[in-house]
């Protein structure tokens, strides 16, 4: 069982840090950025409406920021296939932007949280475009 766990871990690590970005992996990264941005937007909506708890908003926004920053690092560290390099770079930049928005959300007041929700939704839509989603 230990051997299998090590094998699974190796496979996962290999999967996460794969050296090339093809259309499929770009799509998955775009889905991940979309997911985090959309979740951040929901959190920001609730912060704007006073429907959340401050500690939760701060900690969860930070956790989402960590997730999307890791995605950005993965994209930046991978070699994209010819023809996808520009989109991969744009997606990495977008992931960094989402991370910055989430950092701002950690301590935003209600008015700023409302603006951040809009920006995060725009980022989610942009991620869909870059990933080739309809």
């Amino acid at each position: 069982m230990g051997l299998l766990a090590a094998l699974a871990a190796a496979l996962l690590v290999g999967g996460c840090g794969s050296a090339t970005t093809d259309r499929d992996t770009l799509g998955k990264s775009a889905d991940a950025v979309h997911s985090t941005a959309t979740e951040g937007a929901l959190l920001a909506d609730d912060a704007a409406a006073g429907r959340t708890i401050g500690t939760y908003r701060s900690v969860h926004a930070a956790a989402l920021e960590e997730t999307v920053s890791a995605e950005a690092r993965t994209l930046e560290g991978a070699q994209a296939e010819a023809g996808l390099r520009a989109d991969a770079a744009r997606l990495a930049n977008l992931a960094d932007d989402v991370a910055r928005l989430l950092v701002r959300l950690e301590a935003a007041d209600a008015a700023e949280a409302g603006r951040l929700a809009e920006e995060l939704r725009r980022a989610a839509r942009r991620a869909d475009e870059l990933g080739g989603s309809p």
Partner: protein, 408 residues
């Protein structure tokens, strides 16, 4: 009030076992990925855990044998030892994941650093196990974990398409990736029937001094406790299917699980969800801690039981204490508790047959069970579920590898 308190063991086993961190993660991830189409798997899992927990409780009440007594006796030392090692590895992984989960929820409630909260989680668990009587552990964690009912309210408030929900109770594989679907189905079954639930339940019955007179209570415990656990699992999956799936959100964090109540119910929903998760995961941590020590003591014939106290059961006490320290140590290294949970659930699926086969054998032994041995219905269910469990055990790791842990 007494009957309500008496079903506490079932409720704790259900809240702390059926709705532990593994179920929170798998049910919400399954709902976000496949909507309501895996609800039928929860039904299969609930019936399975009811069948085997009822058997375990009956065996404990009648023969005074807990699971690993039966394992040692029926499988022999060699195979029994393999079963013990598999069970202990899975129980340890699960405990580590639960401890990490507790620290994360405390962080969401306090905004203090994770590593500062880990010792607090450790001390809280230690104090609860050391100072509270067994019955009060059940009551505190079982009933406080009932705050998770807020997910039922959230699921209703989100106004899902109820015809689609109903359709989800019918088995179907009409999804984009059948292997990922199967991976989630296996994970949900593994999470629902995770072995430590029955270790804890059967040993708990002996801790409480059950006799054949308590067989009615045993049935009540399993039906109410695990039935309730099933309802909460439905609610988690429906919430994720109604809220996260349409928006393309793939939950990877425990905080996301709680967001499922914040969006429809606001602050109060969020607070109840976080408290419910804290106590459910805390209860599961205590279940796993005890289960590890129960298994070891029963297999090697040591004195065991919380009711005996540390002085009369020193090796049992040392076992859970050391395990708790090790689990906190593992989480302090920075391992992601959610990732650990997924491994724990999948590996627990592999260990299922080694746990459930000896129970079925002992429950059929009239020398121990006399007139309380399995009837025809219990055996039909027992054998059918053993076959399901065998399939799950064989398929779990290949599916995990092929689907990259459900990532496709």
């Amino acid at each position: 009030m007494r009957p309500i308190f008496q079903v506490a063991l079932g409720i704790l086993a259900a809240i702390g076992g059926f709705v532990d961190i593994g179920d929170l993660v798998f049910n919400v991830a399954a709902g976000a990925e496949f909507g309501f189409s895996l609800l039928w798997v929860v039904v299969v899992g609930v019936v399975g855990i009811i069948v085997y927990s009822e058997m375990c409780g009956r065996v404990a009440a009648v023969s005074k044998r807990a699971v690993f007594d039966a394992v040692r006796e029926r499988l022999g030392f060699g195979v029994g030892l393999v079963a013990l090692l598999a069970a202990q590895l899975v129980t340890f992984l699960t405990l580590a994941a639960e401890v990490g989960g507790i620290a994360i929820v405390l962080q969401l409630l306090s905004d203090l650093p994770f590593l500062a909260l880990l010792p607090l989680a450790f001390l809280g668990l230690l104090a609860a196990i050391w100072f509270l009587e067994f019955e009060w552990i059940e009551r505190l964690f079982g009933y406080a974990g009932l705050c998770l009912i807020v997910f039922v309210v959230a699921a209703i408030k989100l106004e899902p398409d109820w015809s689609s929900v109903a359709h989800g109770f019918v088995p179907q594989i009409d999804t984009g990736d059948p292997l990922v679907y199967l991976y989630f189905a296996v994970g949900l079954l593994g999470a629902a029937m995770t072995p430590y639930e029955v270790y804890f339940y059967s040993s708990g019955a002996i801790e409480e001094g059950w006799t054949p007179k308590d067989l009615g209570l045993n049935r009540l415990n399993t039906f109410i406790g695990y039935g309730l656990g099933g309802v909460l699992s439905f609610a988690l999956m429906i919430t994720a299917g109604a809220l996260f799936l349409p928006q393309g959100i793939r939950p990877e964090l425990i905080g996301t699980v709680a967001l499922g109540t914040e969006v429809p119910l606001g602050q109060i929903g969020l607070l109840l969800a976080l408290v419910g998760i804290l106590f459910a995961v805390g209860g599961a941590a205590i279940d796993t801690c005890f289960s590890f020590a129960y298994n070891l003591a029963q297999f090697f014939g040591w004195e065991w039981g919380k009711y005996r106290g540390a002085a009369r059961a020193p090796r049992f006490t040392l076992a859970w204490l050391v395990l708790l320290v090790l689990a906190c140590g593992v989480i302090a290294t920075g391992i992601d508790p959610v990732m650990l949970t997924e491994y724990a659930v999948i590996f627990s699926a592999v260990a299922l047959p080694l746990t459930y086969l000896p129970i079925l054998l002992v429950a059929n032994d009239r020398a121990y069970m006399r007139e309380h041995a399995n009837g025809r219905l219990a055996n039909v269910f027992g054998v059918v579920y053993l076959l399901v469990i065998l399939f799950v055990a064989l398929a779990a790791i290949p599916l995990m590898l092929i689907t990259n842990m459900g990532q496709g």
